[in-house]
């Protein structure tokens, strides 16, 4: 006879100490340093997927998809600037630095955006000649570090974006690790090659909205009041931040949710600071409406935009345009399954690769290694981005026409319902099948 099999409780994983949490404890204990990575939050959040459009029916009629026009253009910076931006699509390219990205990637972003009649944006590292040349419409960022900032580039830009914060790390500065500091990146930033380059979390010469008003005035004076001035904030207290940006004199406000990507930030920061873009748009729009500035000061939202439905939903909630960063990098070739072997060699896998700060990107995008960067053909990658931008625009148009709208900006909250109580409360639209908006007075 065989021995009796003991009755045992099967192994049970803890919901609190899950696989990721245990691995992080072990990694922290072994290394003594927090995890740094690129990209945005990876946790499950209430998002645009939790909203649905109400297509036209008996009470409303749709537009004929192949015959009736649905316009997509947007004008940004109409409040004070002599030369507002006229874009063909409301999908813009978010700020990403030369340094974080290769020169080839920056050129590809410019090519793709230009082909689709939209704008691209510099980043924390200044403007490169290649970027200016390849981008018909270029927004120049003024960041706390002021790396590469100079009045000549300010005047070459089509708009200026004063960055107060970003969605991945509102309240935080930045760190470009030494391995990505090539001789050219170092020279642009006035720092030695190979050392970590820290970016401050606050601007060096202004603090608070009263000072910001004067700072904006200075930039307007230097550029002879020609360029639209954007103010970008990470989503935390959107009602107050947007109201203060408007009060400070911004032409355009940019609101970046916590899904927005970063080149290099602590994991704990990315995952635990800020709010989802879904929760931020309506308070921001409310602030604009309360100040009678909705559509007069344009609102650009970003953080987790992936497809035309996301674009349409953001616009329906009141945004004038969206910005994409992570999705644009994926369109260029980031996380391509064809590179799976190389991702595995780096301890990752296609679809998960986020060690953008290490500079070993096999796709040649988030690197300064000349051999790796040369893998990215700016012409072909730019074409892929243009294709993707075209699809985003067409998908948003399909939805708008189905809702009977002749312009993407005619989409409105009434066109939306929510699938969950949380998303209904955040987006301030009814729970599907009901007239209930949680929290509405």
């Amino acid at each position: 006879m065989s021995a009796p099999i003991p009755v045992r409780t099967p192994p049970r994983r803890s919901a609190t100490f899950d696989e990721h949490s245990i691995a992080e404890i072990q990694r922290a204990a072994a290394t003594g340093i927090y995890d740094i990575r690129g990209a945005g939050t990876k946790r499950k959040l209430p998002h645009f997927d939790d909203l649905l459009f109400l297509g036209a029916s008996v009470s409303r009629y749709p537009l004929e998809g192949y015959r009736e026009k649905c316009a997509t253009d947007v004008v940004l910076g109409t409040r004070f600037a002599k030369k507002p931006l006229h874009l063909k699509t409301p999908v813009t390219i978010a700020g990403m630095s030369f340094g974080a990205l290769s020169g080839q990637a920056k050129e590809a972003l410019g090519r793709g955006a230009t082909a689709m009649g939209t704008s691209t944006t510099t980043g924390d590292g200044g403007m490169t000649p290649e970027e200016r040349e390849s981008s018909k419409t270029l927004v120049y960022q003024l960041l706390p570090s002021r790396y590469g900032m100079n009045p000549d580039d300010l005047r070459k830009a089509d708009a200026v974006e004063i960055v107060v914060g970003q969605g991945a790390k509102p309240g935080g500065g930045g760190m470009l690790l030494g391995q990505k500091i090539s001789a050219r990146v170092a020279a642009m930033r006035n720092l030695p090659q190979g050392i970590d380059q820290r970016s401050a979390c606050r601007h060096p010469d202004w603090t608070g909205p009263d000072d910001l008003t004067i700072k904006i005035q200075e930039i307007r004076e230097i550029t002879d009041w020609e360029k639209p001035i954007y103010v970008k904030v990470g989503a935390t207290r959107p009602y107050f931040d947007i109201a203060l940006a408007v009060k400070s004199g911004a032409d355009v406000v940019v609101l970046d949710g916590m899904q927005g990507g970063t080149a290099a930030t602590q994991e704990v920061f990315i995952e635990h600071v800020g709010i989802p873009i879904l929760a931020a748009i309506r308070p921001a729009v409310q602030a604009l409406q309360d100040l009678d500035m909705h559509r007069k000061v344009q609102l650009i939202v970003s953080g987790g935009i992936r497809n035309g439905a996301d674009v349409a939903k953001a616009l329906a909630l009141g945004a004038d345009a969206v910005a994409i960063g992570t999705a644009a990098l994926v369109a260029l070739g980031d996380n391509d399954p064809k590179l799976e072997t190389e991702y595995q060699a780096l301890g990752s896998t296609a679809g998960c690769y986020d060690d953008w700060h290490e500079g070993r990107d096999p796709a040649g995008i988030t690197t300064q290694d000349p051999e790796l960067a040369a893998r990215l053909d700016p012409v072909k990658a730019g074409r892929r981005l243009a294709n993707y931008l075209a699809v985003l625009t067409m998908e948003a148009q399909i939805i708008a026409r189905a809702c009977g709208k002749s312009h993407l900006h005619n989409l409105e909250p009434d066109d939306l319902v929510a699938l969950t109580v949380e998303s209904a409360a955040m987006a301030r639209v009814p729970l599907a099948g009901t007239s209930w908006i949680p929290g509405a007075i």
């Binding site: 002021r146 930033r189 720092l191 030695p192 820290r198 010469d205 200075e218 009041w225």
Partner: protein, 227 residues
């Protein structure tokens, strides 16, 4: 000399007039009166002209200056000559906070005192202050020189990179990674030259030199207390 009275002309009109000057302009000497705290006065100049301001400008006077010489017969507000590229800015009185912030070139001379964060994030500018400077001066200073003939507030040179700091008076405290360094003949000669260029009478031998210990250049967990 062309005189512009800001009681009669707006800052915007003055700035645009100055911005339109060609590099080889014959209109090289300008005088501005009645500034009365106006912000962004003569910001963004880009020609080798000389502007004298009689009175007290507000924030960002001579911001992003390039090639021009600006002389202020008065006191200046926050962000004097911020991000200056080249040229010279001289203030006969005091300067408020963030004087010379992020400056990338040129010479800034403050004949009085400067406030907090003088030379913050400086990137190549030379700053000479005849008086004292406040707290957090030369924070994250990258390159260039800051010379202080008087005293310095707390956390001087915090998180400094490669900028050179010279102080004649007392330093309340040094910031993270900022240390006193030996004044070599090379540095003494540089300092003497800079003082002479600034027109400030001082004995370079009485100054002490500060700079980066370079311990924070690449992150290491053992230095965590310094961050």
């Amino acid at each position: 000399m062309i005189t512009v009275d800001l009681a009669e002309t707006s800052v915007r009109d003055l700035n645009q007039r100055l911005h339109k000057l060609p590099k080889d302009t014959n209109e090289r000497a300008w005088r501005v009166v009645n500034p009365k705290g106006a912000h962004a006065l003569v910001a963004g100049l880009d020609a080798p002209i000389e502007v004298t301001i009689d009175g007290h400008p507000g924030y960002y006077c001579a911001g992003m200056n390039k090639e021009a010489t600006v002389i202020v017969n008065g006191h200046c507000g926050v962000g004097l000559a911020e991000n200056m590229m080249s040229g010279e800015v001289r203030v006969k009185g005091n300067a408020s906070d963030a004087a010379g912030a992020t400056g990338r070139g040129g010479l800034l001379v403050v004949e009085g005192d400067a406030g907090l964060r003088c030379g913050i994030s400086m990137k190549g500018i030379d700053i000479v202050v005849a008086g004292s400077v406040g707290h957090m001066s030369a924070f994250m200073a990258q390159t260039g020189s800051l010379v202080v003939c008087g005293d310095v507030g707390s956390s001087f040179g915090d998180s400094i990179y490669e900028a050179r700091l010279y102080v004649q008076g007392k330093v309340e405290s040094l910031g993270a990674d900022c240390i006193e360094k030996k004044m070599t003949p090379h540095h003494l000669a540089k300092l003497e030259k800079l003082l002479k260029r600034a027109g400030i009478e001082a004995d370079a031998r009485r100054f002490r030199r500060y700079g980066s210990a370079r311990r924070l250049y690449n992150f290491h967990v053992d230095n965590v207390d310094a961050y």
